[in-house]
Symmetry: C2
Subunit: 219 residues, 2 copies
DNA sequence: TGAACTTTGTTTCTATCTTCACAAATAACT
DNA sequence: AGTTATTTGTGAAGATAGAAACAAAGTTCA
C-alpha cells in the first residue's frame, strides 16, 4: 500500500505543490507542527482529503500530535524532486510571456525559465528578467543543446501547432499550453492546458447557473 | 431528464466554452455539419463524453448525420448567455494584469474587461488596451457604480485577502484568482483559482512520476 | 500515573465522472 | 426500393474522487 513506485491519484498529485508551498511558509514562520485541520483551513481542502493524500506516501503523521513541519517538508522536497532543477523554456515573449519572465518561479521552486524565444527583432538579443531572448529560428538547436524538458507556450494560436511539432522533435517532455489551440502530440508528451478565456467563460456560466454553491478548484 | 432548470455536471459545464469556441471556428470556416468524432479530434475530449455532454441539453443531433453546426451554435449561444454582456474588473495592472488588458476577451465572448485598478500613480488615469485604469482607492465605489459582477485578481498575494474583502462588500459575485493566496469568502461567492506555479510544478511532477501516460485536462 | 483530549490513518459510503457498447434512427449508395 | 454504412443517445459498468466517522495511538495536564 505504501509502495514507492505506486501511482498516486492525479487529484492528489495536483494538490502536492499546494501543500508544499504552504509548508514552506509554515517553516519560515517557525512553526514546528501542524494538524490536518490547520492545513485544511489554509489551503481550503477538506482535512480528510489531506490525510488521505498524505497517507498515499505512508504514515507521515503522529496520532494526537499532527505532522512535524520539518519532516513533512523534507519528505515532500524529495517526493517533488525539489533538489533537481528543471529547465524551462518560454516560447513567445508577448504580454503573457513577459509576465512569466518577471514572475519569479524559482523562488519556492526547483523550476527556472532558462531561455526565451520570440520572432520580434526588438526583443531578440535582450535579457528580460534575467532570461536571454533568442530568435525562434534557434529554438530547435538551443532546446536540444540546453537539454530543456519543459516549455511554456505563449505564442499566437495560429503558430502553436507548428511550434509544438518542433518542440516534440527537440525532445521536450511537457508543455504548459496557454494558447486556445488543442495540440496534437505523441502521447509520450504531457500537455497541461490553461485556457484563460475558457476559465473566464466557465466561471460566468457557474455564476449564472449554479447560484450560491460550493467553491470550485482550479485547473 | 431534459429539464431547463436541471443542473448539468460541473465537468460538463467546464467544457461548454471549449465546444462553443470550436463551433464558432467551424461556422466561420463554412462547415455545415459535424460529428462527435470530429469534435473529439479537435477538442481532445472522448466522443462519448461529448455526446453525453450534449445529451444533458436534449437531443441536439441526428442519428447517422451528426450535429448541425448552426443549430448547435445558436443553442449554445443561448445556453451560455452569450447575448448578455458580463462586466469584468481587473484588479492589479502588473505584468499579468497587463497581459489581460491586451488580451481580447470580447472577440469570441460576451465578456469585457470594463475597468482596471492599480495603486501605481504612473498607471492610474491612463487607458490600457481600451480599459481605463483607476486608483485602488476607488475600487469599492466604482465596482458598485458600474454593477460589476466578476473580478480578475492579479495583485501581489499579500494584499489579495483585504482586496477580496472589499470586492465582496462591493457585491462582486465571482473571482478569477491568479494569486497563490487561498481566499476566504462567503460561499455565495464563486472563486476559480489559477495558480501558475502550482500548474508548472504539477506538470513536472507528472512528467517524472507518470511516464508515457494519457493527457491531462486543464484547470 | 491516570483521565481527558487530540488527531491520525483507514474503512466505508457516496458522489461524480468517464467510457463501453449497442439499439435505433437516419443517411448514402446501388 | 432495398441494402449498407453512419452516427446518435443512453443504459450499464467502471473508474476516480471526496467525505463521514471512528478505533487506535498518542499527547497533555492535573
Amino acid at each position: 500500500m505504501t509502495n514507492e513506485t505506486m501511482k498516486i491519484p492525479q487529484a492528489t498529485a495536483k494538490r502536492l505543490p499546494l501543500y508544499y508551498r504552504f509548508l514552506l511558509n509554515l517553516h519560515s514562520s517557525g512553526k514546528q507542527r501542524v494538524s490536518s485541520a490547520e492545513l485544511s483551513e489554509a489551503v481550503k481542502v477538506d482535512s480528510a482529503t489531506i490525510r488521505r493524500d498524505f497517507s498515499y506516501f505512508g504514515a507521515l503523521g503522529k496520532k494526537g500530535y499532527g505532522y512535524n513541519v520539518n519532516y513533512l517538508l523534507t519528505f515532500f522536497r524529495k517526493t517533488l524532486d525539489q533538489d533537481e532543477l528543471t529547465k524551462v523554456a518560454l516560447i513567445g515573449v508577448g504580454n503573457l510571456g513577459t509576465a512569466f519572465l518577471n514572475y519569479n518561479f524559482s523562488k519556492n521552486n526547483n523550476t527556472k525559465i532558462e531561455i526565451a524565444f520570440d520572432v520580434d527583432a526588438g526583443k531578440v538579443g535582450t535579457v528580460m528578467g534575467d532570461v536571454p531572448v533568442y530568435h525562434m529560428d534557434e529554438l530547435d538547436k538551443k532546446v536540444v543543446e540546453e537539454g530543456i524538458q519543459v516549455a511554456i507556450l505563449t505564442v499566437p494560436s495560429a503558430v502553436a501547432q507548428p511550434i509544438t511539432d518542433r518542440l516534440v522533435q527537440a525532445n521536450i517532455k511537457g508543455i504548459l499550453n496557454f494558447t486556445p489551440a488543442r495540440l496534437n502530440v505523441p502521447n509520450s508528451i504531457r500537455i497541461h492546458h490553461i485556457d484563460l478565456s475558457v476559465e473566464l467563460q466557465s466561471l460566468i456560466y457557474f455564476l449564472k447557473h449554479y447560484p450560491t454553491d460550493t467553491e470550485t478548484e482550479e485547473a
